[in-house]
């Protein structure tokens, strides 16, 4: 199954936030979207999953989702979005309960995703007892539980400290190596983009357009070792973005 954005444009009142964005997320591909703050990248991601309607253009699904996928397009949020009153296990069960799976199947899925995210021993913990990194692991486990075809990740590591971020990037690479999920990964962190992306779209400042697209055909599993090459790639993207970021920064400072 592929997810296609066909000339997406959007405005809030008189402010144009997105213009003519066309991207495709193919099977097993991680597509990163980077851009200066306020360029509308999170808005765009909400449109990809049908949480917000675009003023123009449309989002298209090509092909059928794989059999057994309970929620083909699944989000991972920056603030984790865990229910504070439910345990780790309860949070995962939440997204399965509406599917009438039967107790045995439910238990099997929950056990499986907890093991894959190495959370089995935290099954009964409440979110307030977990660190940020663990909370995001729970959110990832919850997303895996519905067997998504495409994961939409909105700055998933931005609320975490840099060491936790490194650990979670390793985890994501490992999960991807195993499952080959497709994903659209929105971030302002270029290091994350070059570590995880097969393709990086650089958006301009508002109204967000695709400034440039950078293909990175280095296998994900090798990237941790080939840091120097990634560094060069990251630098290249930063040079594209720098002027945009500076202008965007000034725009906000001037209060528009």
């Amino acid at each position: 199954m592929r997810l296609l954005a066909d000339r997406i444009g959007h405005r809030y009142g008189t402010t144009e936030v997105l213009r003519d964005i066309r991207i495709a997320i193919g099977e097993g591909e991680i597509v990163c979207i980077v851009g200066p703050s306020g360029c509308g990248k999170s808005t765009f991601l909400r449109m990809l999953g049908g949480l917000e309607e675009a003023s123009s253009g449309q989002v298209l699904l090509e092909g059928e989702p794989p059999a057994g996928s309970l929620n083909p397009i699944t989000y991972i949020f920056q603030d984790f979005a865990l229910l504070p009153w439910r345990s780790v296990e309860g949070n995962i069960r939440l997204v399965l309960e509406d599917h009438r799976l039967g107790a045995a199947a439910m238990r099997r899925i929950v056990g499986d995703v907890l093991e894959r995210t190495r959370l089995s021993e935290f099954r009964a913990a409440l979110p307030r007892q977990l660190s940020g990194g663990m909370k995001q692991r729970v959110a990832i486990a919850r997303a895996l539980a519905v067997r998504p075809a495409v994961m939409l990740m909105d700055e998933p590591l931005s609320a975490l400290d840099s060491q936790t971020r490194e650990l979670l990037m390793d985890d994501l690479v490992e999960l991807w190596t195993r499952d080959r999920f497709s994903a659209c990964y929105v971030t302002h962190n270029l290091a994350e983009a070059v570590r995880l992306g097969h393709r990086v779209h650089v958006l301009s400042r508002r109204p967000g357009r695709i400034r440039e697209t950078v293909e990175i055909d280095m296998p994900l599993a090798e990237r941790a070792e080939r840091a120097a090459e990634l560094e060069a790639m990251q630098r290249h993207i930063w040079l594209i973005m720098r002027e945009e970021a500076r202008a965007a920064d000034r725009e906000l400072a001037d209060g528009r």
């Binding site: 929620n71 989000y75 979005a81 009153w85 439910r86 997204v95 509406d98 409440l126 979110p127």
Partner: protein, 270 residues
């Protein structure tokens, strides 16, 4: 060593200036204050500083309370009051939560009911008691209706503001996972609004007790309010204080129950 103070230099510790502004409760202190006040009152009465006509000694109040228990009138008064309070408050709260949810969830309900609720919330329900007596008669219905009305409005307001304050991101998350509307209301909105609903119930319970006494002062033969009114008109101040004590204990008991409910249902809060 560079880490040690220079020889001969004047050294002094940096004074501590943090701390404070975090008052804590201490049940021993509150109990001690309570007992201390009663002892002081008793001592004042015995020494003749407090006139027994104005304020009888705690021991006399205790005698009045014991009388109430012995004659079986305590249960007679209390059971009638508890029935009125229970039915009125529980019904008022249930209806309040339902209407609050409607206002919190539906544009039409909000548009239709929000202003109406605000307007009627401000009306003292005691002022409506004569009206209720005309409508429902002098019996139980008018008293229960007063308590029901009084606890209904604060619960409505607490519930819909609780619903308004549920984290929008959680709702968006639930939608992104395809949860049904009913699931979102049951599993996200209701638990998310529960802290506000419970604090609303705390307020409405106090209002319910006030209205209970007020309602029982008109045309009631039994009930704590009727007992207090009777005592007052006979200048039996010891009985009057005994009645007030029962009300205070009732208020404490309800507050304790709600506190337990908060600890039971809101243990997920840090």
């Amino acid at each position: 060593m560079a880490d040690d103070p220079a020889p001969g230099a004047r050294v002094r510790p940096v004074p501590f200036r943090g701390g404070g502004f975090r008052p804590q409760t201490n049940s021993y202190v509150s109990l001690a204050v309570f007992i201390g006040l009663i002892l002081l009152w008793e001592a004042g009465s015995r020494a003749g500083l407090i006139s027994p006509i104005a304020l009888p000694a705690p021991s006399q109040v205790l005698v009045a309370l014991a009388d109430l228990v012995r004659t079986g009138m305590l249960w007679k008064h209390l059971s009638v009051s508890l029935m009125r309070l229970g039915v009125g408050w529980v019904l008022g709260s249930i209806l309040g939560i339902l209407v609050g949810l409607l206002i919190g969830l539906f544009t039409i309900a909000r548009a239709a009911l929000l202003q109406l609720t605000s307007a009627l919330f401000a009306v003292p329900k005691i002022a409506l008691l004569p009206l209720f007596i005309v409508w429902f008669g002098i019996g139980e219905s008018s008293k229960i209706a007063t308590i029901l009305f009084g606890s209904f409005f604060p619960t409505v307001i607490a519930t819909y503001s609780g619903v308004d304050n549920v984290d929008r991101n959680l709702i968006r998350m639930a939608q992104s996972f395809g949860l049904s509307w009913g699931s979102i209301v049951r599993k996200i909105i209701l638990p998310g609004a529960l802290p506000a609903i419970l604090s609303g119930l705390r307020i409405s319970s106090a209002i319910a007790i006030v209205l209970l006494v007020a309602a029982e002062m008109i045309g009631a033969q039994f009930g704590i309010g009727a007992y207090i009114l009777q005592a007052g008109s006979l200048f039996a101040i010891d009985q009057l204080i005994a009645g007030v004590t029962i009300l205070a204990v009732l208020g404490l008991a309800i507050s304790w129950v709600i506190g337990r409910a908060e600890r039971r249902f809101l243990d997920w809060r840090s």
